[in-house]
Symmetry: C3
Subunit: 109 residues, 3 copies
């Protein structure tokens, strides 16, 4: 059993959860916020058997696609050595970010 | 130190948190939603010392009990090879789902 | 890649996220509630490269400082062997609690 922690764009959430359910996956949905854009997004927690992990990943890859988004930012000094961020910045968003964690123990009560 | 991620039914949340506090456990509560029933539930995050894990599990087992719930679902095609889900389905719910994760490092600042 | 799960006091959240962004860290913000005081706090999830972990920890240490808070509690019996908690209790709060978890797989879609 692995615990998958997956952050997805709200635009992709409904299609993704529908497909995961159809494939028989179980998961819990948590409302979250992006650190940089401060827009609402969705964090999924899902305990997945190792044999099903590839199919889970394919469903996520198929329903969460990255795209460019133009963002107007109040300028602040960027990372060390980086220039000041200008007013409008185009950032790649949208895909999904997935962390697969090892599970020591899994219990249903 | 282990990190326990536990999803419990909202009906069981208050009794469970009361018992965990009495036993001196520390935890953080996150509102969440079930992937399948789309009902609100609760995700607990708790850093637990290994020696206390059994007692934590016993408290959860004693305060979260599984039961049957009749659900009316808009029919959708189920998992591959499964039949169409009928209008009313009885699913086992309640109980709790628990993931115990290994913690590399734990810090208090 | 490590997954850092960090629970911080709401008073420290904005300064902390600002500093993490300036340092180029990526993270997701989840609203949460303290188990004991039942006050709102913030849980940060951040996938951090191992080489950057020390700098991440220093930023958290520098922006989340522990302090005393007086709390009036409805008396309940405390942990086994402990006395009844009195009406007003002073608990150390603030600071941050951090769990660093090993990541089996990290994917961007
Ligand atoms: N410090 C920074 N400097 C410059 N650009 C930055 C940046 N932080 C984020 N970005 C850019 O802005 C997009 C939105 O980030 P946000 O933090 O709002 O929303 C993020 C965040 O909620 C989550 N996420 C991404 N990487 C993460 C990580 N390592 N740990 C935890 N959550 C992460 O996934 C969402 C989408 O991320 P995605 O990478 O597709 O898209 C990111 C990325 O392209
Ligand atoms: N592997 C996992 N990873 C992450 N979170 C998990 C999980 N297994 C369960 N959960 C969480 O615990 C809640 C209760 O699950 P339980 O298995 O008792 O009770 C479940 C189960 O009996 C049934 N069910 C869930 N997903 C199903 C599916 N894809 N197909 C058929 N039945 C499903 O419906 C009940 C309610 O499910 P719901 O999703 O609303 O709510 C779930 C979900 O939030
Ligand atoms: N092992 C752990 N696992 C998961 N989350 C954890 C954790 N330890 C702390 N946290 C999270 O961090 C918040 C601040 O904890 P801190 O230890 O600084 O400050 C704590 C601590 O000084 C005290 N406290 C917490 N639980 C206690 C208990 N069972 N008995 C006595 N004092 C407690 O009350 C303060 C506020 O606690 P609260 O629960 O409202 O809020 C907690 C909780 O949300």
């Amino acid at each position: 059993m692995k615990l998958v922690v997956c952050v997805v764009h709200n635009r992709d959430r409904n299609r993704l959860t529908e497909e995961l359910l159809k494939a028989g996956f179980k998961f819990t949905v948590i409302g979250s916020t992006g650190g940089f854009l401060r827009e609402g997004n969705t964090t999924l927690l899902s305990g997945v058997e190792e044999d099903d992990l590839e199919s889970f990943k394919q469903i996520v890859a198929g329903h969460c696609c990255a795209r460019e988004q133009v963002v107007t930012m109040a300028p602040f000094e960027g990372p060390p050595g980086g220039a000041m961020l200008p007013g409008a910045v185009s950032v790649p968003v949208g895909g999904a970010v997935m962390f697969v964690l090892d599970v020591d123990e899994f219990h249903r009560f």
